[in-house]
Amino acid sequence: MASIQAAKKSLSLAPTVRTLPSGVPAAPLLNLAARAPADHHAHGHGAAGPRADVPPQWAGGVSRSFGLSSKTLLTAPTTTAFQHRLIHTSAVAKDAPQVPDFGPYRAKDTNSNRALSYFMVGTMGVLSASVAKSSVSEFLQTMAASADVLALAKVEVDLTSIPEGKNVIIKWRGKPVFIRHRTQSEIEEARSADWKTFRDPQSDEQRTKKPEWLVMLGVCTHLGCVPIGEAGDYGGWFCPCHGSHYDISGRARKGPAPLNLEVPAHEFNDADGKLVIG
């Protein structure tokens, strides 16, 4: 008996011999229907053979079809061990919570609150709009010429030193500028001319800020020569290069010049008797 029992003695093998590439432990030759080992001290309790508490096939179980897998098809009953806790320290929850009366805090008239809210929103809009506007305009002002550059680009002429009926030529931004102190007869001549029939129709009032002072760029509008003063058929300027005649208001009257002599931006400083060109 003992020798037979020794041959039947079961071995304790490691259940997992190797692992499949999928990570599932592989247990070849695992006998899931193995009998429980014979127990000589069992005194007859529990029959030798398949376990009595093995779940039936329809309820799931262990299979070796794709590796070792276990499947349970039944919904396990939840653990129900509920009982009322009769002793605890948390506050008692009342069925109907008591809501306080907010009546004294409510606004009597909602109109003023509404108007104030909209007013605050609008004020915010006003402030942000002016901030946006001023930042844009400040940024654009950084691109403008600075005051020192503008000051260099200006020329100041003392008008008291120019007698009536005389021309003065000064240099402004690299170009000659004619300044003529016109006599009264010259003003009348310039104003009485029928300027609408001219090549570049411009009245004398448009070209001068003060009738006795004529300020023009001394560059012929034809090809850029410098005209000669007090010459030409009209008593004004004459360009020696191609024979353009300008009248006493600097308007092109004869010859190839297409436009009148250009009038630069200029201002009179009456207090100091000066002319600022630029």
């Binding site: 008239d109 109109n111 509404r114 108007a115 909209y118 609008g122 809009g125 709009a129 002016s130």
Partner: protein, 63 residues
């Protein structure tokens, strides 16, 4: 009708009017803010700026 309801009905009720009011108010605010800061500056620096002391020097030069 209280004043607040009147203001609400005239300005805030219609969004186009609201936005137009905001922008025109921003325009007016910008101008008035600049003018206010300018006048404050002039008051604070009274007697120090060229336009305040110009009379002394220009008269001297002419005499």
């Amino acid at each position: 009708m209280p004043l607040s309801a009147t203001i609400y009905n005239t300005i805030f009720k219609r969004n186009s009017i609201y936005v137009a009011t905001v922008f025109s108010a921003a325009f007016a605010f910008g101008i008035s803010f600049d003018a206010g800061v300018q006048s404050f500056w002039d008051k604070w620096n009274q007697g120090k700026q060229w336009k305040d002391i110009r009379d002394k020097y220009v008269q001297d030069a002419e005499e």
